[in-house]
């Protein structure tokens, strides 16, 4: 049921995985859990871990910092929290980015 909701939302605006974000970009999470090629955790486990850390549909996101080598890992604001993660895991989170940023 949830996937259906995400699909309609993705029709509008600049929707990309969080892994493609640059510092300063902001947006709202529209979907958590799309990740076939993680290779280590299965998609369901990764999805649940992300949800437990507060990455949930509707949460406000801002990319704050990135690492020196290859821009990885990244530090993001999730609502009122700051969380660090690798771009590899961030790929499973789709964001509708604010335009003009």
């Amino acid at each position: 049921m949830h996937n259906g909701a995400a699909t309609t939302e993705t029709l509008a605006g600049d929707v990309r995985p969080l892994s493609t974000a640059r510092p300063g970009e902001r947006g709202v999470i529209v979907h958590v859990g799309d990740h076939d090629e993680h290779g280590v955790l299965n998609a369901d486990e990764l999805e649940r871990r992300l949800l437990e850390l507060g990455f949930v549909e509707g949460a406000a996101i801002e990319l704050l910092h990135e690492g020196m080598i290859g821009g990885d890992p990244i530090a993001v604001r999730v609502d009122d929290m700051r969380v660090a993660l690798r771009r590899r895991e961030a790929h499973a989170i789709s964001i509708r980015f604010e335009s003009g940023n």
């Binding site: 871990r49 850390l53 949930v56 509707g58 910092h65 690492g67 020196m68 530090a75 929290m81 969380v83």
Partner: protein, 623 residues
Amino acid sequence: MTDVTLSPLRAALVGNPNSGKTALFNALTGARQKVANYAGVTVERKEGLLTTPAGRTLSVLDLPGTYSLRARSPDEVVTRDAVLGRLQGETAPDVVVCVADATNLRLILRLVLELKQVGRPFVLALNMFDIAQRQGLQIDIERLSKEIGAPIVTTVATRKRGLEDLLRQVDAVAQTVAPGENVWREPTSADLRHAHAEARRIVKACVKPAERPDTITGRIDGVLLHPAAGLAILLGLLFLMFQAVFTWATPAMDGIEAGFAALSELINGVLPDGLIQSLLVDGLIGGVGSVVVFLPQILILFFFIIMLEDSGYMARAAFLMDKIMGGAGLHGRAFIPLLSSFACAIPGIMSTRVIDNKQDRLTTILVAPLMTCSARIPVYTLIIAAFIPNTTVWGFVSLQGLVMFGLYAAGIVSALTVSFVIRRIFWRGSVEPFMMELPTYKAPDIKNVLMNLWIRARIFMSRAGRIILPLMILVWALSTFPYPPEGATEPAIDYSFAGMIGHFIQPVMEPIGFNWQMSIALIPGMAAREVAVAVLGTVYAVSEADGATDALASLLSSQWSIATALSFLAWYVFAPQCAPTLGVVKRETNGWLWPSVMFFYMVGLAYLAAFVTFRAASAFGLG
């Protein structure tokens, strides 16, 4: 008093990491806490006893921090099973105290909703309430309490505020609330989304957002997480830490050594020469001394680590180092333990506790002794002084310094290679994703820091000492018995078990160029690497007077070939010549499996490296 009021009560603290849960535990129980391991796992069990306002004895258990009861690490399994009453040898807590960071309620409310399903009576402690007030955050506590169906207490653990109130509520809940039915099951992703929506609704209804939200953390991160400046600051900090462990500890270590030497003198003066005197001086005092002498380094290192943890910087250090460490299959948090191991692998291994994931932590423990510790320096110095000419190469580089650098580099490269191999081959499927909260910066509370330091010191002294001391006495016994026969011409150690073992393993050591004197030195050298230097002095009958090392160096240069000397150095880069390290690994991993794995893989690497070095050097005519 009735029987009911006398029966002891059990409470367990549950909460997100960084909620100030351990600070609350320390504030409640003070120094009256027992630290042990849970049966069969390496997770630390912290329990403290106190008396509630109603006069009941309350035992408080500090459970590992978690975001969910759906356990993913050994620590979180303990939290889940303790709350559910499934933990072997433990009964379910009468009251669960859920500790929340008052400034960040959404995630903890989701955990509270899970806890509610478990059916244990619980109390919610809104900790760090002073910070929430300072930010102008308004929480409708009455409404929130109704929403979650449990009493709420506001606390400031670092100022000991709200503790009486909390205990009174624990008393009341234990008296009045009966445990409900346990309907908890592992949440699916749909359950998690549903709980998030519910938590969001509760927060919206009960919390008015902060008027003056924290902006300091963002500004500090702007500097500390800056791609270039952040890394430079981290390296500066680590340099300071490394310096401190190396230099600040020296006076204290010298003092401890002098103290134990004086004690030995005293006993030598009082007791006649003989077995008792030897056991006391060489075995017991030498053994205790060799444990206590690490204490200054451990205290300084842990002081830094606790400060970095409590301030919130440790998560940032892991963030900055993650890419570099990740290349070798290590977690970002492995950086500090490995760096500490340059001083000594013992505090390094103890500090791997900052790594949550079991396999990440084991990998770090296994490679930590490959980092060049300070005890190798006397061995390296002796051999380099004896065999490497004091000349310069390429016009300005000292050859001796270059060899020393090469030995350090060999240690680092081998540590990274071994962890790479472990991660890519043996634990391939278990690489943990790097995901962690970057907590709000806080000024560390000095009382909390000192208490944690005291607890670390106590653990090291009592538990590591209990393993290390018998090992040291064993090494002493091997080097002492049996006595040399009347009129013996060789040094006494040659007739002892150590000597016999040395002669026995000599054929095995022959292919790597070791003579029997070297083989013997390896046995007492198990006590600590630098002991090998003293033993070489003994077997070559160099007097222990001043300048003994110089005399020994010139003697060795006439007795050993360069190939043998290089082979000895290669051996010392890898060999697990340190019983205390193996003892600490046993303590930290709760069994003999991992110290055995460490011993055999390091001996294997040492033999291989020494063999290749000896053969290559011999082929180049250095034999």
